[in-house]
Symmetry: C2
Subunit: 483 residues, 2 copies
């Protein structure tokens, strides 16, 4: 039978009207806390527990029969693995269930017996085309618009990033770390687990159509043993994606693949196949580092927002030419080496452009070069003028590496900050990328300066390297779209 996976159907999964947690216990109270925190209508949250009378002030029904509704949008299933099959049969015989999130772990990833249970559930669900399922062995769903989350620490505000993760812990860390580090926000997130029913490819298709989603981050470990066609379908869907997909693979190394086997029990995929996929699609290959995935998501998310807010089509960098503006000769040399080694170019000032710069600022010490290293004028108007003259069509990325400032009330700081705002608006008016790097980490004055920059819409990274690598991914996506 054909499974329903149309857009509206998945929309209901992320924005369920009615939810049942079966079985509710103190051990899974984090689910309930997540719903409470997101402001889910608790009248539509039903807990079933044979042992508890209530959980966090919410009444528990003794059995599924007692739950006073017939149709349930989302069932969160947390029972011992030995009871999984029987529970599903029982519940489906009594209620109409649209989605089951199977939280239970220790199935296919664990042993033969667990794999057998997965097969039984899969066969069972085949006969219930109206019921779709994520998991088992997963944390489940996050959608601020749908007011659902599995941890109370997840932000209640929505954003433009969607997540599909084959690891519940990484999914949680992605949300928590990136929201604290860069204030990132999400449209929807799925910790998808062992994929015995709903597949990554289906969610990608959904996110491709989802207007709330501008970029999709995937953490992938392997293909499900039960669905032999998923590999081909995934490739087809990846080819069709119309938005940036940041794709991080676990098990890139042979040693990593052995580790994957005990984690999700997924089938390993070959590096050569992935190389071809990254070559033939718009998909962006992300190294096995959550920090890098967060860095890249930050730039993609803010970059697309910027254009959307102006009602303009998103433009991506055409070239890899960087202008670096900073405070320090030594740091300038390191920045030049790092950027050059990463594949960026720092164009020299020559000819007319150099003459124009000299007219604006007849320098006596230091030099009008790229990196532009003129710290003694950062608080003068000429700093803005010289920076603007240095930024022309030849430049794709402007990186300002700045020291922190102790006294933000000082007149010199205010003028400097005005200059930074001026450079930013000049760069962005040309649809180019502007990033500030604050390397002094951690320090109190850095923290205060950082907060001021972020609240004024600046993109701020902690290192030249992370900023440059993120820019290069943005460039790579743009280059692919122009093929």
């Amino acid at each position: 039978m054909e499974k329903q996976n149309d857009f509206l159907s998945f929309e209901r999964m992320f924005k369920p009207e009615t939810v049942v947690i079966y079985k509710a216990s103190a051990k899974v109270s984090f689910f309930v806390e997540g719903f409470i925190r997101q402001g889910f209508n608790l009248e539509n949250l039903y807990l079933v527990s044979s042992k508890e009378n209530d959980l966090l002030g919410i009444k528990c029904y003794k059995t599924i029969d007692e739950v006073p509704i017939n149709s349930i949008d989302l069932l969160i299933l947390s029972v011992r693995r030995d009871s999984l099959v029987a529970s599903i049969i029982d519940i489906l015989s009594k209620k109409e269930i649209k989605f089951i999130h199977i939280f239970t772990a220790g199935t296919g990833e664990f042993d033969e017996e667990g794999a057998k249970i997965e097969l039984e559930i899969s066969n069972l669900l085949e006969n219930h085309p109206e019921t779709r399922s994520i998991g088992p062995n997963c944390m489940g769903l996050y959608c601020p618009q749908g007011k659902i989350a599995y941890y109370s620490s997840f932000p209640i505000e929505s954003g433009n990033i969607a997540l599909i993760f084959q690891s519940g812990d990484l999914h949680s860390k992605m949300v928590k770390f990136s929201s604290r580090r860069y204030n990132l926000r999400f449209s929807k997130g799925v910790s998808i687990g062992n994929c015995i029913d709903i597949q990554i490819s289906e969610l990608l298709q959904y996110f491709n159509q989802d207007e709330a989603t501008d970029i999709v981050c995937v953490y992938f470990e392997g293909l499900p043993a039960l669905y032999e066609h998923e590999g081909k379908r995934l490739f087809q869907v990846l080819k069709s994606m119309q938005k940036p997909v940041l794709f991080m693979r676990g098990g890139r190394t042979k040693r990593g693949q052995k580790a994957v086997l005990t984690h999700t029990g997924s089938l390993a995929t070959k590096n050569t196949i992935w190389k071809a996929i990254f070559n033939q699609t718009l998909i962006i290959d992300v190294p096995p580092s959550l920090d890098e995935l967060i860095d890249y998501s930050y730039l993609f998310s803010k970059h697309i927002y910027r254009f959307k807010n102006l009602n303009k089509p998103v433009k991506y960098p055409m070239n890899k030419n960087a202008l670096v503006i900073l405070w320090s000769g030594g740091f300038g040399i390191l920045a030049t080496d790092i950027l050059t080694e990463l594949g960026l170019t720092l164009p020299f000032f020559t000819g007319e452009k150099l003459e124009k710069l000299k007219d604006i600022y007849p320098i006596k010490i230091g030099s009008l070069a790229n990196p532009l290293d003129v710290p003694w004028i950062v608080s003068n108007d000429v700093y803005l003028d010289v920076s603007k003259a240095a930024i022309d069509e030849d430049i794709d990325l402007v990186l300002v590496v700045s020291d922190a400032w102790k006294d933000l009330e000082e007149e010199r700081f205010k003028n400097y900050f005005k200059n930074l705002l001026g450079i930013k608006s000049h760069v962005e008016s040309m649809d180019k990328t502007f990033i500030i790097v604050l390397p002094d980490y951690p320090s109190k004055s850095r923290g205060i300066f950082h907060a001021k920059l972020v609240s004024n819409g600046f993109l701020v990274y902690a290192s030249i390297e992370s900023a440059a690598k993120s820019f290069l991914k943005l460039y790579e996506y743009g280059r692919k779209t122009r093929r």
Copy 2:
């Protein structure tokens, strides 16, 4: 004439009894603030200014003649470049000067005229073998034991790291960032500038003998135009070094070399030569990243301290086998990929060792594998037992990747922390390396947990990658010493 550069002579430079700042002004008051902060005996600090009567409460003499001492250990020279030669001639005709720190910039790195000034000073100093000089174009000296520093923000406590930097700003950032980030401390530091007299090779020789110094960090941009033999001598000295030298080069790329020209005016050196030097000596090649230099210094500094405190000869890792202990399947996969791609090995548990582990902890869910992912027992005694059994002679590095903990007064945390201390002391009793990674950055609970770990002597990094790269440098140094 032969210049004096014996050990005692340089010792006097770092621990001067008498210092003159010529000329003192509000613009260079940071020098005075540095001396005050370090507790230098202000009766031995003499300021000369034709304009000011006092600076920060310290009397200013109008001329050098008025300074009531004849012999001066350290003269800090801050005059316009046009007055440099005349000032030096004048002062040397009136006082005995052991060391001159020429702070003035805009000489050889700036233009032909500046290069001419440098040549004149160099010739002048040739005739004064009793006088040595660092600079020009540099921030100068830092030595907590000598109670001297050029910024008040530099730590007053001493440590075992020496610095020789061809960039004053990077020198300052190295001290400031690393002291905040990892609590690093320094024996001595030199921002050496354009090297018209004292050379990097001489300071390396000094630090090789200096008992307060265990490791030396160098930021190098190029060879001085005036000293054609420095290249050969530097190579000879690098060959003779008996302590770890972390060597970071600016101008590794051709584009970077062009930037070097306007910074210190140094002569570029070829990558092929450096490749040979790194192959033939114990010197450690550090990429152009201050963050990495700080990461590596952290591990080397603490590693050597650990053995010194036990009065044991320092042992370096014999192999690159890592055991990873963590809380998360997904993070375990990423850690496996990252470590493997970096060149580390994660040995499997097999045979007797696996049987022993199963005896200690007959696991029902998850697995006894490397990464060891058993978060539910972190607060039980068995966690320590199973970790200890997993750490044998086959393991060189133990990495614990830990979540932050909200409530450090909780009984479960206390037991977990006891386990961490137990693993640490077990690993260190075997002379192996133990590192904790706290990836949740920034967060308040991470900050509190981090402080507790550090005050208990743990090495803590923010990412698996930085921890692993630092370990690999430690291994590389050990491998080189065993050749």
